[in-house]
């Protein structure tokens, strides 16, 4: 047994944990913003998939991976705004609207990919983002390789955590956003436009879903496949609950999930446990459900989550 532990919990494991957690962290922070404003954004899975496709295509044809990231973010903003049109302006069911956006985006991703690339025998690929070690810091023992030897997007994602916390808790914009999610009537009487705030939050969430999705096709892998997201977006909905709608705790939840994911990858490749590899693939989803069962009772969602806001109703 101790052999297994030695094989698994090496520095490489923690490096993988940070790498795997990054796209989930981006998407989880995005979902946190939209839920803090009072809108559950179930478009997450589809937006991530579509942005993984558009981002990859842009990177492939322009040769610039960063342009791919920008296109992915724009894709997310567009469909975040669509989500706003449905749930904020029209006040439709957030559950069904989100599922609709996910189904639409997934369809568009498959359709668009086939339209652009046809059915090649070899899937097209790009030279993915390369690791950009931070000078000096990456030389540190243990912490260096774990924290400071990654692609740039990883640093940006983790830098986003304090930024998000600052914006949410220390700025008038963040205060207004939280009020809109807790008590939209109070926010409206203080002169805040509830609708515009929710649009902003949804577009931010879309952008972060988009970047998270493109991380898969441009950094983690170097190609787009139909199964590139396969449930990772849905997991982020759970991570927001586990992270109690707080940027720091969300980051912790994403890292925890990253650890589970990295662990199953290592168990898979170590061959120590002789089981079909799908057993390891299901582990992260099973553990997420168990974790939800443990914390959900005490979770307190933003009070106005799922409730459409109409001016005349009090």
């Amino acid at each position: 047994m101790s052999d297994i532990f030695e094989q698994i919990f090496q520095i490489g494991f923690f490096t993988a944990m940070v790498r795997v957690a990054t796209p989930l962290l981006l998407a989880t922070l995005g979902e946190m913003f939209s839920e803090r404003s009072g809108v559950l954004n179930l478009g997450i899975e589809g937006i991530m998939l579509l942005a993984a496709m558009t981002g990859f295509s842009a990177g492939y044809f322009s040769g610039s991976l960063w342009l791919g990231i920008v296109v992915a973010a724009m894709t997310g903003i567009v469909f975040g705004a669509l989500m706003g049109l449905l749930t904020v302006t029209l006040g439709l069911s957030q559950h069904v609207s989100g599922l609709g956006v996910t189904l639409l985006c997934s369809g568009l991703a498959f359709f668009g990919y086939r339209l652009v690339f046809g059915q090649p025998s070899q899937p097209p690929n790009v030279a993915a983002f390369e690791s950009a070690p931070v000078p000096l810091l990456s030389e540190l023992p243990v912490l260096g390789p774990i924290l400071f030897d990654h692609v740039t997007l990883v640093y940006l994602a983790f830098l986003l955590v304090p930024v998000a916390a600052f914006v949410l808790y220390r700025t008038p914009w963040g205060l207004n956003l939280r009020t809109v999610g807790e008590n939209p009537h109070a926010a409206a009487s203080a002169g805040v436009s509830v609708a515009w705030k929710r649009y902003q939050a949804l577009m931010i969430s879309g952008a972060l879903f988009g970047i998270g999705g493109a991380y898969f096709s441009l950094a983690q892998f170097n190609a787009f496949t139909f199964g590139v997201i396969s449930g990772r977006g849905w997991v982020c909905i759970a991570l927001v609950v586990l992270g109690r709608w707080d940027p720091w705790r969300c980051a912790f939840a994403a890292l925890l999930f990253g650890a589970v994911d990295a662990l199953q990858l290592r168990l898979q490749s170590s061959g120590v446990i002789d089981l079909p590899f799908q057993v390891f693939l299901l582990l992260p989803f099973l553990i997420t459900v168990v974790a939800m069962a443990l914390v959900a009772r005490n979770a307190r969602a933003p009070a106005a989550l799922l409730l459409p806001y109409r001016k005349e109703e009090r």
């Binding site: 599922l99 339209l115 849905w234 099973l286 459900v289 009772r297």
Partner: protein, 355 residues
Amino acid sequence: MQFRLETRVRSPAWMNLVLPVAAVSITLVICSGLIAAAGADVFAAYGALFKGAFGNRFNFIETLVKAAPLIFTGLAVAVAFRAKFWNIGAEGQLLAGAMAAAFIGAREGLPAWSLVPLMIAGGAAAGGIWASVPALLKVRFKVDDVVATLMLNFVMFYGMMALLSGPWKDSLSGYPDSPDIRMDAEFPILLEPTRLHLGVLLAGVGALLVWLLMTRTTFGFAIRAVGENARAAAHGGIPVNRVVFFTAVLSGGLAGLAGVGEVAGLHFQVMATLSPGYGYTGIVIAMLARLNPIGVIPSAIFFAAIATGAETMSRATGVPVFFADVIQGASLICMLVALLFTQYRVRVQTLARNA
């Protein structure tokens, strides 16, 4: 002159027909842009789609065969959403039912006559049990039903694939497939030499039974009461948690039957590609039917037609077959928007001139 929005208390019955038709028509118009983007002629493409779905007796029957699992998943979602139990897990429950059916259907020890009834009962039970997990998590631990049902879809799919590549793999096959069920376990064909099997008939009967259950029984009444206002229902003496739990089990059982039909009537085994997202399509179908069990039938036939027709269209015009997936998402959104007309009416009024 001025337009004013008024809230409606009740929506007239004709809307149940007009709204989905309008939503679908608008979807088809919007999505014709994609056909043009693929460089095909819009009318030729839709013509090929229609021909592929309904053009001759064979194609029409294939569409009906495809509609069978969709009717069941549509019913599963319609029942669950009525109680506001957000069951996005019909996909996993379908697989549970399919696995139970494939397991029972391959048992050599069972008498031949018992196989089909046992597969139906076992498949429904498996789907129901799998759905009871998120239901318990919701009523006992307050776990969000959307998250739990979605996660469990992946647990079920990977679990199934693990079994299929390990202990349950057909030793004669090079792929991760289960062994075939016995000949006696196959659903009878209703119309030789087509693939129209017993499962298609069961789906139709199922829709009728669910309709009776929802409109003519106290359980159906309780489901609707809980969905409309859980607090009022509890006040009226309805055991809300128990109703939610059994609604979920019923919903899962219906989804399980979708899996039974696919195994016993069509594939005779389980494999990775058994369900191309029938559980998720069920959501679109149920919403287009306005959660009405009878409405699920035409709604399911429509999406089955899009799926079979899209393949013909793709072969004839080169428009990617995933056109069908876009249609699903777009029609769900259009239907949602159309439903606004059940809540509001547009009044045109002429203002009296101000002095």
